[in-house]
């Protein structure tokens, strides 16, 4: 596994690494207004590296993410839009790992998945 990017804030942390044909990302803490820039940087880096590596899937582990505000949710919408705009051969899938005890995740990931049902799967663990 090789590390792609790590971002940290007072109350938020994110990292991504490559594992074979998959990029794995983990988000922890509180994705609120203060985390917005870090999250944008993380998602931009994941997108560029996933394209460069021709990886076929990104797994995003949200199981330790306590909360996400609408600005950070919008960052995910923008990322998914960028994936949708790739050529068919370069388009990759996104699998979210969610925590059923953080109830907002079920609702927000449902909203995101409805926007890009062809790209997104959600697994509760």
């Amino acid at each position: 596994m090789s590390e792609l990017v790590t971002v940290t804030g007072d109350d938020f942390a994110g990292s991504a690494h490559v594992d074979g044909a998959t990029v794995q990302a983990v988000l922890k803490g509180n994705a609120d207004y203060a985390a917005f820039d870090a999250l944008e940087m993380l998602l931009n880096r994941i997108h560029s590296e996933t394209k460069r590596l021709a990886a076929n899937e990104v797994v995003v582990d949200l199981r330790q993410l306590e909360f996400m505000n609408s600005s950070c949710f919008k960052s995910f919408v923008s990322w998914v839009t960028d994936i949708q705009e790739l050529d068919d051969a370069k388009r990759y899938k996104v699998r979210f790992l969610s925590n059923p005890t953080y109830h907002w995740q079920k609702r927000s990931l449902h909203s995101l998945r409805c926007f890009a049902v062809e790209l997104i799967t959600v697994v509760e663990q």
């Binding site: 509180n30 909360f67 609408s70 600005s71 949710f73 907002w104 909203s111 926007f115």
Partner: protein, 160 residues
């Protein structure tokens, strides 16, 4: 248990305080509600409304009042935020609420908004629509000159 529990804060919120208040009100809701999903919904709405206040309050001051009415079955939770706002923000709120009202349902409107704003990099503009669609709260707005009051109301199952 008293029929209506409430608290009211008059403060100058900042970015860091929003999450502090969300965690505080989550504990407040948990004191009365045995429905974790309901607690999560109203905590999300509280956070989004407070962030709106941080971004758009004219003088930085915001009053938030939270009521939990356990005499109703299901329980009714009402959030009320008051702050002074610029005309542009008042119009933006009105447009979102009119959009939700004219759509078949709040989730449909939210999905349309997500599609419309997906390419914009600055700001989300999702906050109020998210409250309606994901937090399943009904929003109402009252305007008195530059004073905006937003009320968010929902029913939550399960009293403690």
């Amino acid at each position: 248990m008293e029929p209506v529990a409430y608290f009211e804060l008059n403060f100058r919120p900042n970015v860091a305080l929003v999450s502090v208040v969300r965690r505080f009100v989550t504990e407040f809701y948990e004191r009365f509600l045995s429905d974790p999903d309901g607690t999560s919904r109203v905590a999300l709405a509280t956070h989004e409304l407070l962030e709106n206040a941080v971004k758009y309050s004219k003088d930085g001051e915001t009053t938030i009042r939270i009521e939990v009415d356990v005499t109703q079955k299901p329980i009714v939770v009402k959030l009320r935020l008051r702050n002074r706002a610029e005309v542009a923000h008042i119009i933006a709120i009105k447009e979102i609420l009119e959009g939700v009202a004219s759509a078949p349902d709040a989730f449909t409107f939210y999905q349309q908004l997500i599609g419309k704003k997906s390419k914009q990099r600055q700001g989300s503009g999702f906050g109020l629509a998210r409250i309606c669609a994901e937090a399943e709260m009904v929003l109402n707005q009252h305007i008195d000159n530059d004073m905006v009051t937003i009320e968010a109301t929902t029913s939550v199952g399960g009293a403690r």
